[in-house]
Amino acid sequence: MLAVENLKVHFDVKNNRGVKTKLRAVDGVSLHLKKGEAYGIVGESGSGKSTIGKAVLNLAPKTEGKIEIDGRDITMTNRANEAWLRQNAQIVFQDPHSALNPRMTIMRSVAEPIIVHTKTRGHDLRRRVEELLDIVGLSKQFIYRYPHELSGGQKQRVCIARAIALEPSLLILDEPTSALDVSVQSQILEFLASLQRDLNLTYLFISHNLSVVRYLCQRVGVMYLGNIIEEGTTKTVFEHPQHPYTKALLGAIPYPGATQPQSAPPLIGDIPSPVDLPVGCRFHTRCPVKVANLCDRLAPEHHHQTLGWASCHLLDPDLDKVGGKPE
């Protein structure tokens, strides 16, 4: 349904000496989403996960790569593609407080995509907005309110109503719950799950919160420094992670329970800058099990398992194990 091939998004930046360099936010990512699937992208800040969402919607410039939605190639940004894309793919942003124009009533915010793309006006428009608010679980009384009169959860519902107004087939959710309190977050997650079932939507769910991704998504891709380093069904990735980064990431989540599960010691150091990427495997600077003289030279290939793949030299069956060993 959504196919992304070898997507690259590079930004020109100046370093502190004023020399132009490239920031490789996304560097060769391929994604294939089936219709009605919820696909999660997890990663830490700076991994480029949000940029993927923006590039798909043409809100960030693509350097290279091909994007197809529903079999339609939308890589070229011409007028027809643009109009089609805006009606068939929508995004919900992280911070509902700033995603709504403070000077517009809820009615106007939700109606905006309908006004822009269709000829619906007057009562039909009003009824459609009421219908949409009803779908997201808000009563009609909100219709003439302003965003500042709503709570965070209510605002996020309004944003979702706006996003589904034109019945898009693809919804990109960019950290939709991370600005919300847990009790509200769970309501929104529940709602998103039921919405997906009811409208047969395809979700591209971007988040740094692994538990949330696990809750909502069927498949997941783990991103590190502009690359997806492991992909598979949520169950496989979470229960049998292959890549050392995925393992570390999972081990780092604080577990809300009386007894802490045994986990590997936390990773050392910070994510390297995407301006100055490490040679070889991008994770080798922090990898606890790196193989000397290999990981810092050669980028690993994808090694397929039954329900997914990971790119790590240690998964290579032909690997001559010289240095470290997987735990």
Partner: protein, 318 residues
Amino acid sequence: MVGSTNQRTNLATVMLIQDSNADHVSESFADRHASTYRTLRLYARTFRRNTSAMFGLAIVVVFLVVAAIGPWIVPFPEDATGAVHLDIKLQPPDSTHWFGTDEVGNDIFTRVVLGTRTTLQIACIVTGVAMLIGVPLGMIAGLVGGWVQEAIMRVTDVFLSVPGLVLAIAIVGALGPGIVNAMLALSLVWWPGYVRLVQAKTLALKNEIYVQAAYSIGASKLRIVFIHILPNCTSPIIVKASMDMGMAILGAASLGFLGLGAQPPFPEWGAMISIARTYLPDWWWYSFFPGLAISLTVLGFNLLGDGLRDILDPKHRD
């Protein structure tokens, strides 16, 4: 319930229908704008607590009223059009001539009151024209970017680097003295401030998530400008405009004082002071009352502007 809404043909009828039936979704104008009312009430409450802003508002209102009804309340209307009563020249304030009389025996009270209208007109026109030039330019610069922005901003910088009044004097000097030319000159030196303000605000708003959301919806550039960016720029523009009214009054008075603005016997405060200063200090009332009027209006607009900033700028609230 939906059906009843459906039958109505337009919103105007909805407003007019007095809905006595309790089952109906009665939606009066007040219902639909309840949120706006609440916001305005909050503004009003915040403003009322601000003593100096209320003081400023009072001054501005008084001068507006005086400007509106001036010609009907002044005791000697003909004194503003060049009458001469040399027998009563330079008389100190008394019960007939509240502010005294000038060197040709004209009532100063009359001339100050009638000068209000001129002054406020100049202020409004100068700020208005400056806004009309500055706001669109600022918005274009902020939105388009690139060399367009560079060009607009550098021209703005050039204008800002020359003291406004000096430039205005030069322009009036070239065009010839007169009230219209003075207004023109002031407007021409006033717009760069708005370009700066609006450009900065547009740059900030361009990165707001709701503007990005509008792009992702597919809204056109024009729609984004008029629906998303402009309405969110209005608060700082209103605040600056209110402050600028005061400054424009000062500017107009200065030009009048230099003999480049309104020409006597036209009642304009700056021009009055220009003549009156030769009569200082013995005939102090001649320059004192026009001067007081200038100070009060400028003070009033500045206090009002401060107060407006307090209520319109959310950073100062909470």
